[in-house]
């Protein structure tokens, strides 16, 4: 019977390659700065962003405070909210609806991004294998995003972003994040400010470095890594860490945000509807060590630099853990070669991260390990038995440097070590390496020109003339425009 499993291994292997490639190519919705806040406070994007959508220390504090200024928010609001009930209605509760508010204007913003891609010339056999990719392509993915965010009162905030058009075709790119957040629930229990918050809906996990709001045109490879055993077993887990999840998250950031924690219970199927009854759990903690000498600066939202406020010199260390159970044959279908019946394959992702900020320099890195239980048919063909798990490791490391406040150079290194992918013919070696030097220029606070060279790892293909396996490195240069309004 093991032979039958192996007989279907070609199909499973192809499935694995398709899953891995599709996941790697998948574009997670990327959102951005919120010009709606610029309008509300009549302030520039740079109040909250060093290089949108990346937040500076003030922007982080603004976000953590439920999209409000950390102190005396009312005095800065130039567009007062509409009250949905007088504040004194609180005293009448529960005989009256608890008072809230909505933004005094429609808090909607838009973002467009389109890139000019230069791709390495493909050999004919690569074209036959993967389809044709032109040497040059203008304005891709041509994404138009609508973003709405704001607050519904002192402790309620919301966020919705949706790629309403992508690929230049009006195709729906889908919802990115859409959540409602209650801040500072711990106040009632005497906990420090913002020590306990909760959010509901669809959201990106509390990742060490956001993929949805990254400044880079390319995803972090490790965040897009799925697990597929292919010919080596049953594991066929489409979960990726970088895509949004549907669920509930408890979290907090006491001590001026120096310590953060979060625990989320999620469907585990990214932004698709649940396909199993079990729920996954994600947890993260991080601690920032503020290295400013001046005690006053350490306490302030931004440090007092000799030429103006700036981000604190700091090191943040963090750890994260995700646990879930992937289910096979969940919908009545039968995984190739497997008996009928639903069975679970627990998996986990664990990792650590570091971020160092000093003046115009930012260094960062993430290391991650993934482990998926794997099965093959047992000897009697009556069920399955565990076999060597599917594992992978990887991460990324990089540096950003602000040459001027409007000109940023960077270098990023992504790597994924997956022996399983290698054995399934996905890559040339166990480890896939990608180097991505790039630059970003803020033509205006809300308009960017970007450029990134991607030095890619080798992808195998069979030379139809010689019958030998060769490797193609799809290096690319991406440049483009990006603006929000």
């Amino acid at each position: 019977m093991k032979g039958r499993v192996m007989n279907t291994s070609i199909m499973a292997g192809l499935l694995a390659i398709v899953v891995v490639v599709l996941v790697m190519l998948a574009s997670v919705p990327k959102t951005s700065a919120i010009p709606a806040f610029s309008r509300k406070y009549q302030t520039s994007c740079t109040t909250c962003h060093n290089n949108y959508p990346e937040l500076n220390d003030f922007g982080e504090a603004f976000k953590k405070n439920g999209f409000k200024f950390p102190k005396d928010d009312e005095t800065f609001v130039k567009e007062p909210p509409v009250l949905l009930g007088a504040k004194a209605q609180k005293e009448a509760f529960p005989q009256a609806v608890y008072p809230g508010e909505i933004p005094g204007f429609l808090p909607i913003a838009f973002r467009y991004s389109g890139n000019f891609n230069w791709n390495k010339k493909q050999p004919p056999d690569v074209i036959a294998l993967n389809g044709f990719t032109p040497r040059t392509d203008l304005f891709v993915p041509n994404t138009f995003t609508i973003i709405s965010a704001g607050s519904f009162g002192p402790n309620l905030s919301f966020w919705v972003d949706d790629d309403i058009s992508t690929g230049g075709s009006g195709a729906d790119g889908g919802l990115g994040d859409g959540y409602l957040k209650f801040s500072d629930l711990g106040h009632a229990f005497g906990l420090p400010k913002n020590a306990l918050n909760v959010r509901f809906g669809q959201f990106e996990l509390d990742l060490p470095f956001t993929q949805a709001r990254t400044i880079y045109p390319s995803d972090y490879d490790i965040y897009d890594q799925a697990s597929a055993a292919g010919a080596l077993g049953t594991t066929n887990n489409p979960f990726t860490l970088g895509a949004p999840q549907r669920g509930i998250e408890l979290g907090g950031y006491p001590n001026n945000g120096n310590f953060t924690w979060s625990i989320a219970v999620v469907n585990g199927n990214n932004d698709s509807p649940a396909i199993r009854n079990t729920k996954d759990v994600y947890a993260r903690v991080s601690q920032r060590f503020n290295l400013e000498h001046d005690p006053e600066s350490r306490k302030a939202i931004q440090a007092a630099g000799p030429t103006g406020p700036r981000d604190h010199t700091s090191i943040r260390l963090g750890a994260f853990y995700y646990y879930g159970k992937n289910q096979l044959n969940f919908d009545g279908s039968v995984f190739p070669g497997m008996p009928v019946g639903v069975f679970d394959e627990p998996f986990y992702r664990v990792g650590g991260d570091l971020r160092f900020k000093y003046r115009h320099l930012e260094l960062y890195g993430v290391g991650q390990y993934g482990h998926d239980q794997n099965h093959v048919l047992n000897a009697t063909d009556t069920g399955v038995e565990r076999t060597k798990p599917v594992t992978f490791s990887g991460g990324f490391a990089g540096a950003n440097y602000w040459i001027y406040p409007w000109m940023i150079g960077y270098m990023r290194y992504d790597f994924v070590n997956s022996p399983t992918d290698f054995l399934n013919g996905v890559s040339q070696y166990n480890t896939r390496n990608r180097f991505s030097p790039g630059f970003q220029i803020l033509v205006r606070a809300n308009i960017k020109v970007i450029g990134e060279y991607e030095h890619q790892w080798g992808k195998p293909f069979v030379n139809s003339t010689t019958g030998t396996t060769q490797f193609f490195h799809p290096h690319a240069f991406v440049t483009g425009i990006d603006y929000v309004f």
Partner: protein
Amino acid sequence: MSLSRIAVKAAVAIFALALASAAKANEIKGKVSVQGMKSAENIAVYVDVIPDKKFDAPKDPVVIDQRKMAFVPHLVAVQQGTTVEFLNSDPVGHNVYWPSINGNKKLAHNLGTWPKGEKKPFQFNDAGVASLLCNVHPEMSGYVVVTPTPYFAVTDKDGNFEIKNIPAGKYALKTWSEDGKPTTQAVDVSGATATVELTVKK
């Protein structure tokens, strides 16, 4: 009282009267009209350099506030040598710098950062215009117009201005505004009040 003593007293009285007349505070009153600009408010009007005339620097400082992420007032005119105190009234970090004075980048200055409630002084010894900026809130904008004489004013929302305590004489009256071109107009302060009509074009 002898005749000679009466004559001396009369002479002293006449001399004192003459002195008082010579030092009598005159004023320039006027109105600035604008062409191609939204408003005639916040236009600095000042008397340009008076040859062979020097003025002591004022002792009292002028305060410019940073409040609700704006420089308040938006434009101030000060005499050369005046100390301006920059106050931060916001609970957010601010900064004040100017990239030049009258385009002279050697006179650029950055005052750094200071917390809410504190002031940072700077003595403006060079005449010209300093464009005040904040490096984290680029929408913030203010101006210090440093004038070579103590005879200056800033227009109200209707473009009216008044320069008081100016001795009689002929002067060059100048204007500076954020959006308009600088103008110069001769003014003769001979009577108690000299009335001037100025036009500033974009």
